[in-house]
Each structure stands twice: as C-alpha cells, then as structure tokens.
C-alpha cells in the first residue's frame, strides 16, 4: 500500500503523517472540530500499527487511514466515517456510538466491542469475540469470525458472510446474528431462529449499507436468544 496518496492530497484533505506528527496532535485536531467545519476530509499516513488512531471523534468527517492500525482505532467514534486501508488490531470501533468504520483488511479480537450504534464493516476476517457485549451497533464481516463472537450481545445486528467459530452468541440477549456459512457451535442460550420476512428486509438493508451486492439475504441463517437464562433458575445451572 502506498504511504502517500497524491490524489487525496490534491483533493485538499487535511493530511496527518504519523511519521512526522504525533498521535496526540492528530486526536487533538480531530477533537477540536466543531459542527459545520469545512475540514470534512482527513487522511492519516503511516499509522504503522499505532494504537488509538482517530478515537472519540464526534463530527461527521471522513478519515482515511492509509495502512494498518493497532488497538482501538476509532474507539467511541460518534459520527465520523473512518476507513482503514489495511488491517486493524484489537477493539476496532470499540463502544462506537454513531458513524461508520470500514476495515479493508482483517480485524483482530473484540471488533466492535460494546458498540452502541453506527456501522462497522470488516472486509476481511474478524478474530475472536467480534461484537462482544454489543449494544446496538451493526457489524458486517465479509469473511469469517472467530470463537466467542457476540458473547453477551445485548442489541444490534451482526452479519457474517463467511463462517463463525465456536460458542457463537454465548449468553446473548436481544442482538440478532446472521451467518451465511457454517457455525462451529452455538454458545449457551443461543439458538437458530426462523428467518421471517422482516428479518430478510432488515438484512437486505444491512447488506446495502455495507455495500455488499453479490449476496442474498436468503443465504443466511438467523441466530438469537432462547431467553431461557434471562431469569435465574437452578435447574439451568448446567448451561453456564
């Protein structure tokens, strides 16, 4: 991947080169944006696995990160549209509130952890615990996801075009999981559910938002909570 992008520079994006400028300067500049700012396009060069790139951004700007990032890229994002032109380390888009994050490569563990809103798209694979404790975020993974994904997932939608690892949706609450490939195993209280028309419609909308055009909602299976562990019952103790 080229370290610099002539085309983007010519489009007057504000460019931050992390080889020259510090992470602190980048995040501070992003936090100083106010509503209506004309600096709507940002480009980050040479991220080189830095942690916490573009965290806590609360304005609707676009941020193109040219390379791979470390932990927590786009953490608590609250409105910006971040594209990582590389892979992302653990916790990409953790606790996202709004906006979007697209990872062109793969994502490590806990992608979209505890996210409350917005859209996270992983164009490659996501590792274990994808969507852990999700609370309203929508996550679309083009490839596969690892084990314990959607653990304690409370709300939101997780769409997986590939396969899911072991213990999918363990102790899930009201999040909806859609998997196109095979699921190695389901976690406690997670069951396959009927795909009704409203789910097909919802899924089509999610695929559209994620820019997925070559896949039909009918190819997926839906998984969610059996709701048998919502209130403690000693006879269910073996399920834990």
């Amino acid at each position: 991947m080229p370290a610099t992008s002539k085309a983007t520079r010519e489009s007057h994006a504000r460019v931050f080169d992390l080889d020259v400028q510090s992470l602190r300067e980048l995040n501070q500049a992003l936090h100083q944006l106010t509503a209506g700012s004309n600096e709507t396009a940002w480009e980050v060069l040479n991220p080189k696995g830095n942690h916490s790139v573009a965290v806590g951004v609360d304005q609707p700007v676009s941020i193109d990160v040219r390379g791979s990032v470390g932990y927590y890229c786009g953490g608590m994002n609250s409105g910006s549209a971040i594209t990582v032109h590389g892979s992302a380390g653990p916790g990409v888009g953790e606790n996202m509130m709004a906006g979007s994050i697209t990872v062109k490569g793969d994502a490590s563990q806990y992608a979209g952890a505890t996210g409350k809103g917005g859209l996270l798209v992983i164009e490659g694979n996501a590792s274990s615990r994808c969507g852990i404790s999700m609370k309203g975020i929508d996550i679309v993974v083009h490839g596969n996801i690892g084990h314990m994904s959607a653990f304690m997932a409370q709300s939101g939608n997780l769409v997986v075009l590939g396969d899911a690892g072991d213990a999918l949706g363990d102790s899930i609450y009201e999040a909806r999981l859609f998997v196109r490939g095979k699921v190695d195993s389901l976690g406690a209280d997670c069951i396959a559910k009927e795909m009704r028309p409203e789910h097909l419609e919802l899924l089509q909308g999610l695929l559209d938002r994620a820019g997925v055009t070559d896949v039909k909602p009918s190819e997926f299976k839906r998984y969610g909570s059996a709701r048998t562990l919502y209130n403690f019952n000693i006879d269910n103790a073996d399920a834990y």
């Binding site: 606790n95 806990y110 000693i234």
Partner: protein
C-alpha cells in the same frame, strides 16, 4: 428416692452454628445460593485493632482548636492536565444507579459537593441527578460498559477503570429483575425484568499490557485532561498496585473485602479477597518500591466508618479513603425508624442486606417509585455532609494530638497494634513491644 444422672446441658456446635444450619436448610429448600448486598460481615482484623500513640515528651502536639491541620488532597497529578482537588481525603465510592434510586444518587452528589469531595458513578451509567449535583464526579469504566458514552466520558471529572471490587474480586455485577425498571433497562440496553449479570472481565482488554493501551485510549479520547484511576479488589494488592502504576494509572483504588456490593453471592462476599487492613501496606510498599508513593495516589476503601479509621488509613500511607456503606447509612439506610417494615421482610434494622430485592424500606436500594420518595435528596445530602464533616474533624483531632499539621503527615510510627494479626498486617509494632511480626523477632 431413685438416683438420677445429672442432665447434660444441650450443646450447639461451634462449627455447625445456628447461622450455618439455617443456610443449609435454606439451600436445601430453595436450591439457590444466598444473594445479598453489603460487604463481609464476619469479624476481621480491622482499624479497631490499631491505636495511635499521641504526643509525649519526644513528640509535641498541636493545639486542638487553634493550629491548622490540613485535610486537602490532590488526585491525579501524575499525568492529568486537570487533577482533582479535594478539601477532604474522604470520597464517595462507586455505587450504581439501578442498585440505588435516583434520589439516593442525587443525595450522594449533594453531600459530597457540600463537603468538597467527589462522588462516583457505578455499573449503570451516569445519571443527570448525580452529574447535576456533583461538583466532582468520577465516571466508572466497567466491564459491562452499561451506558458508557463519549459525552458522559468527557463531562466526567475523572475516569475510574474498574478491574474489581472488594466484595467480589473476580466477580461481575448483579442486578436482579425486580430492580430492572424501564429507566434502568434503557440505560443498560437490556430487556426489562431480566436478572442482569454483568461481565467480570473487560470485553476488550486482558492483562496489564492491554490495560496500558486501554488507558492510553481513554487519555487520547479525553485529551489527557482527566485523572485515570484503576480500582482493584483486595486480592493481590502489591502486584495489582504495581501493575496499575506500570499501566499508567494516576490513582490506584484498593477495595478490601468489607467493601459493599449491591448484590453478590454470600459465599463470594465472605470467602474471596482480603481484609482492608491487610491490603494497605502491600499497596503502599508497591508504590514506594517504584518510587511513586505520593506521585500516584492511593485510595483505600472497605469498612471506613469514622475519623479514626480515616486517620489510621492515612497513617499507613494512603492518600484518601472512600466510603460506600457508611455513606448509605448517613442517607438513612437501615434506620431503626423503619423497624416494623424490616420485620415484615424477615430482618431487623442494621441487618437488612437484601438490597437486590428492591424493597428497601429506607428508599435507597430500590427502584420502587413510592419507596424512593422516602429519600429527600436535600435533607439526606445534608446528613451525608454532616457525617463527612464529623469524620474529618475526628481525623484532625487525632492528627493534632500526634503533632501533625496535615492528615497526610500521619505515619506508621504513630501507630501500634492490639493484636499480633493486626501488627503483622499493618506492619506496626504490637502494643507494648517493638515487635513487628514478619519484620523482626520478638
């Protein structure tokens, strides 16, 4: 006249005492472990086992009502651009909205603000009641991340990354269905009425190296303005303190096993973790070994009840203490005025700990709209402020008697222990001797 053998006095077992027998019967009947609120109730080595020496020929006292004895403390000066400045070294510990009613949270904020100290959110997010009435509010960053959001993170005055708590090191929060009202459910993104069991581990980091990266993220999000605390249960205080410092904490909070909880298994509360007294010296030692004592501040909580406890904790090297259970009592928790209602619930004032059931006659640990009306946030806040004032005066009284013009000048040398256990834990001599068990010979 026939001879009768002398009767044998009925003898109850010390091992199978009445409480133990009742627990066996209860478990057999219900098939579930006992869940309750509050902290460890068993007798433990505590601050009562320490005494101050006071002044003597070699130490002269300060005049009780004339000479100044400073009580202020600054928390978070290591990295934060905006450290917290408190008038008194007693803060209000994290307690969730959900476990506590809205008026109770407001009262804590009011009382703390009147006293020039901070209060803390809990495992349920930040409410307007407490933000609006707390001049200095610490926002807890918990494994569940219920209600966690960017706006509240930025309007907090400090952030406390909660790794564990004294009542249940290694356990997650618990809020049973009776207390999941519409408002609580919405704040936590959960269905109403379910038994909510919070995660015990953070979802997006594991271990001290990850924690360092997580703290970096929180600092970047908040532009390095806010102090970052790391709270641990009293498990391995030396290593937990050292690792928190290494991860970049501004403040370390160590909560001993007397520290309360809204709801946890009785077996967990009484059998996991260490007493507060046993946690202090190892935590202080870790800071001293790293050259960070007084640079990274140490807050200790769990069973702090009065100014003597405050003074003793500070003398052992702590920068501030935190109170939870005692603050609730100041608001009106377990007040004998509700005795008839406690009796109806099968308990008595002073012993009521079924905080998870949401039926608190005092209106504090409930989401029942009628019961919570019993807490007048203004009057209850005033009571808390009065109590904090008394604790502070008591601690100052002791400090002056020891010749200290600041509570933070109290030192281990001012203390002796009444028991061998307390002497070993606190690292001070057994009264009447110069023996510190584990450090020198008798």
């Amino acid at each position: 006249m026939t001879y009768r053998n002398p009767p044998t006095t009925p003898r109850k077992s010390a091992t199978f005492d009445d409480y133990t027998l009742s627990e066996i019967r209860r478990a057999a009947a219900t098939g579930i472990y006992d869940i309750r609120g509050a902290g460890a109730k068993r007798k433990l080595p505590h601050f009562d086992d320490l005494l101050f020496l006071g002044a003597s020929i070699s130490r002269y006292p300060l005049e009780g009502y004339r000479e100044r004895c400073d009580t202020s403390v600054v928390l978070g000066s290591r990295h934060a651009k905006k450290p917290i400045e408190l008038k008194i070294p007693i803060t209000i510990a994290g307690m969730s909205f959900g476990s506590l009613s809205g008026p109770a949270k407001e009262a804590l904020g009011r009382g703390a603000t009147l006293s020039g100290t901070s209060t803390t959110t809990g495992d349920g997010g930040m409410t307007e009641e407490e933000r609006g009435h707390s001049k200095q509010l610490v926002y807890q960053y918990l494994p569940s991340r219920y209600g966690m959001n960017l706006r509240d993170l930025r309007r907090a005055d400090a952030i406390e990354v909660v790794v564990g708590q004294g009542a249940k090191p290694g356990g997650g929060g618990m809020l049973l269905g009776q207390k999941i009202s519409d408002r609580v459910a919405e704040m936590r993104t959960l269905p109403k009425g379910i038994d909510q069991r919070s995660a015990s581990r953070h979802p997006d980091w594991t271990g001290p190296d990850d924690l360092e990266i997580k703290i970096l993220e929180l600092r970047e999000i908040t532009d390095w303005e806010k102090p970052i605390y790391v709270k641990v249960g009293g498990a391995r205080p030396y290593y937990d303190t050292a690792l928190a410092v290494k991860a970049g904490a501004d403040v370390v909070v160590v909560d001993g096993m007397q520290g309360g909880t809204a709801a946890t298994q009785e077996v967990f509360i009484e059998n996991v973790g260490q007493p507060t007294l046993a946690c202090i010296r190892p935590a202080v030692q870790a800071l001293q070994d790293l050259g960070m004592h007084r640079k990274v501040q140490l807050i200790v909580s769990g069973g702090i009840r009065n100014g003597a406890d405050v003074a003793k904790a500070l003398a052992l090297g702590v920068d501030a203490v935190s109170i939870g259970t005692a603050a609730l009592v100041a608001l009106g928790d377990n007040d004998p005025r509700w005795e008839a209602e406690y009796n109806e619930l099968g308990t008595t004032s002073g012993a009521y700990d079924d905080w998870h059931e949401g039926k608190d006659p005092a209106g504090i640990t409930t989401q029942d709209p009628e019961l919570m009306k019993r807490v007048d946030p203004i009057a209850a806040g005033r009571r808390l402020a009065n109590y904090l004032k008394v604790m502070t005066l008591e601690a100052q009284t002791i400090a002056r008697a020891c010749g200290k013009n600041s509570l933070h000048n109290l030192e281990p040398e001012d203390l002796v222990a009444l028991t061998i256990e307390a002497a070993a834990m606190a690292g001070v001599p057994l009264a009447g001797t110069n023996w510190i068990p584990g450090k020198n010979t008798f």
